[in-house]
């Protein structure tokens, strides 16, 4: 028997928006409350406090239904500024423990503690100290897991949430995952969950036990990756840095100042395809785009578009940018150039749908195929017809 080491620490502040609200207003700790977007067409709960959850309030529930169920329910608007501040504060705090960190938005942080034993002691001890620091300095309590890779660490925190500690030793990943619910596995979205349920598969270990032929027949080509994940195999590195501070930027200078909207649209589509490819290569999505228009009279105008969900595909990004550009237009002056940035980057959650049977994910398949061609033969080899105007 020998001791094995795992060096990835994952910190998961469950129900992050609600946790931040409580840290900001401690009196909320004892009250059921939920966070919902005001003024949206379909006003639904986007986060619940623990107390509200215990009373049966769920994410996605219409606010009116929730308030009927629980008349005392306090409904708060999202506080994105405080959430962003909390994310940054967590990132700063954990940076003193390891140079290798990945700070995702929404209270998710990964650290690779490899080689820090002499400085901080065993990894589990460091994980405990980090959790203590976050609790004492930020008033946030979360789930913490230590494992040999990101995938297993993430499932670890999902298994124990809302709070607690788990340490999965290297070499015991598959054993740990075996009896966990399949819904904890990244890649199992609603569609694949239904498919698995019909087949009587409820535990991750049942997917891990499938051989290649069974996987291919049951889940298609991409099922092999899901099966490997079920076995705890993950070699993905940490995406270093603080995502909130990252953005993808492009600038386009026109050969001649333009007045034609079609030319602007073409330029936006071409640049959006390029930026989108970079973003997807890094496994990310964005929640906001900002475009700046530079006019021939020296003035500048800009506009921003945001989404509550995420933008991943070229068509989504280009469309959002063009809508932002239309908002920033309104002048009869020639345009010299434009620049845009994709920001509020986060992990591409649509990865969870990667394993949906191919017929249900045409858009994803098409984008992947386009990306593969572009990566192999160059970005300009395949482009949207709208962008051709710009090239000419």
């Amino acid at each position: 028997m020998h001791e094995r080491k795992a060096s990835i620490v994952h910190i998961n502040i469950t129900d992050f928006a609600a946790a931040v609200a409580i840290a900001k207003q401690p009196r909320l700790a004892d009250r059921p409350f939920a966070i919902a977007l005001e003024g949206s067409a379909r006003n639904v709960i986007i986060t619940t406090s623990r107390k509200a959850w215990q009373e049966g309030i769920r994410v996605g529930m219409p606010v009116t239904t929730a308030q009927r169920m629980l008349p005392d329910l306090q409904v708060l608007p999202p506080d994105t500024q405080s959430a962003a501040q909390a994310d940054s504060a967590i990132a700063m705090l954990v940076a003193s423990y390891s140079p290798d960190i990945q700070c995702d938005k929404g209270g998710h942080v990964y650290l690779d503690m490899k080689g820090t034993d002499r400085l901080f002691g065993p990894v589990l001890d460091s994980a405990l100290r980090i959790r203590k620091d976050i609790r004492e300095h930020l008033g946030l309590e979360g789930a913490v897991a230590v494992a040999s890779n990101k995938l297993v660490a993430k499932i670890g925190t999902r298994a124990i949430r809302p709070c607690g500690l788990a340490h999965i030793r290297e070499g015991e990943e598959a054993s740990f995952l075996a009896s966990q619910d399949v819904s904890l596995l990244s890649g199992v979205g609603p569609a694949i969950a239904r498919l698995l349920r019909v087949a009587g598969i409820t535990q991750i270990g049942q997917i891990a036990a499938l051989d290649d032929n069974q996987v291919l027949a049951f889940l298609g080509r991409r099922g092999l990756a899901l099966r490997d994940a079920a076995r705890g195999l993950d070699t993905s590195p940490l995406q270093k840095g603080v995502m909130d501070k990252q953005f993808i930027h492009r600038k386009v200078n026109f050969a001649e100042p333009i007045l034609n909207l079609a030319e602007l649209k073409a330029g936006i589509f071409a640049a959006a395809e390029d930026a989108g490819l970079q973003m997807r290569r890094e496994g990310m999505s964005c929640q906001a785009v900002q475009i700046s228009l530079f006019w021939s009279d020296g003035r500048t105008s800009e506009a921003t578009k945001r989404t509550k969900g995420q933008w991943i595909y070229d068509a989504e990004i280009a469309d959002a940018l063009f809508q932002a550009a239309l908002q920033a237009m309104g002048r009869r002056v020639r345009l010299l150039s434009f620049a845009f940035k994709l920001f509020d980057l986060g992990p591409s959650l649509r990865q969870t749908d990667l394993f949906i049977p191919e017929i249900l994910q045409k858009q994803d398949s098409l984008q992947q195929a386009i990306d593969e061609v572009r990566q192999r033969f160059g970005p300009g080899i395949l482009t949207h017809a709208t962008a051709l105007c710009h090239g000419n």
């Binding site: 203590k132 340490h167 009896s179």
Partner: protein, 275 residues
């Protein structure tokens, strides 16, 4: 405010006379002597021999300040006879009456061996056992890793049953470290970290371990974290060889006091520190 109570697993060890109990202490005086040092004890004789009400009443009388956790008899966890376990559960439960009547029973520990697998039959058995023993304050310790999953935790939360946290040697075959509060009671058992003797040796060698100060400081953080989701945290050292459990329990209590966590302790425990 949460309460943290620190004690040992068992108290009746003749080899503790000298290192823990004053020289010349007779076995019938062990519990009284123990209660002068600790506010809580985990009774484990009850695993080997079915306890009796009169016996537990006498224990309470000899140490009125002491609070108890009690390990369930092996017929309920290790040697389960499908035809007789309900009867055994009734007998066990009846024996606890004096402790319940005097409100000094904090937990009933159900410790399942690694051979107790996460299979349908065992899950059904556990579900029934928890119902039969309800509403006793129950805490479940699993040695088989397969129980360490989100469904188990959710099920225990739904039943307000404590999931026992463990400190064991981090070697293959042992379950992962997992501290998750699933009820208002958190329960931490510290078995020592003797890797060399954990497998294939007798119980005395297995639990022959003295936690260092640096290890205790980290354990203290685990204890304090368990307070987040629980109203009461029970901590028991089971590294009983040569009185090491008692020594570590005292030291952990000092560290807790030094950290400012002393204010979270019960009045009895705070008093025992000051004396």
């Amino acid at each position: 405010m949460s309460t943290i109570l620190i004690g040992t697993s068992g108290y009746s060890y003749t080899e503790w006379v000298g290192p823990v109990y004053p020289k010349g202490t007779k076995s019938e005086e062990f519990l009284f002597s123990y209660a002068q040092m600790f506010p809580t004890v985990e009774l484990n004789f009850s695993y080997y021999r079915m306890p009796e009400a009169a016996q537990l009443a006498l224990m309470h009388q000899s140490a009125p300040s002491l609070r108890f956790s009690i390990k369930a008899h092996q017929s309920l966890t290790h040697v389960i006879d499908a035809g007789h376990w309900r009867e055994q559960a009734t007998i066990f439960r009846r024996a606890l009456e004096p402790l319940l009547a005097n409100e000094v029973l904090d937990a009933v520990l159900l410790q399942f061996p690694s051979s107790f697998h996460y299979e349908v039959d065992q899950r059904k058995y556990l579900d029934t056992l928890l119902r039969v023993l309800s509403p006793l304050p129950l805490a479940v310790e699993f040695r088989n890793s397969r129980w360490y999953n989100n469904r188990t935790l959710d099920s225990l939360r739904a039943r307000q049953v404590s999931f026992v946290s463990l400190d064991l040697p981090q070697i293959q075959g042992n379950p992962p470290v997992m501290d998750v509060p699933t009820s208002s009671l958190a329960y931490l058992r510290l078995h020592g970290r003797n890797k060399e003797t954990w497998w294939g040796s007798d119980a005395a060698s297995r639990y022959d371990y003295l936690y260092s100060d640096s290890e205790l400081k980290v354990l203290l953080e685990r204890v304090l974290s368990l307070m987040v989701g629980a109203e009461k945290v029970l901590v028991y050292f089971n590294n009983h060889r040569r009185g090491q459990a008692a020594s570590n329990a005292k030291r952990l209590r000092q560290l807790l006091d030094a950290s400012g966590g002393g204010s979270c302790m019960s009045e009895k425990q705070a008093l025992s520190i000051s004396t």
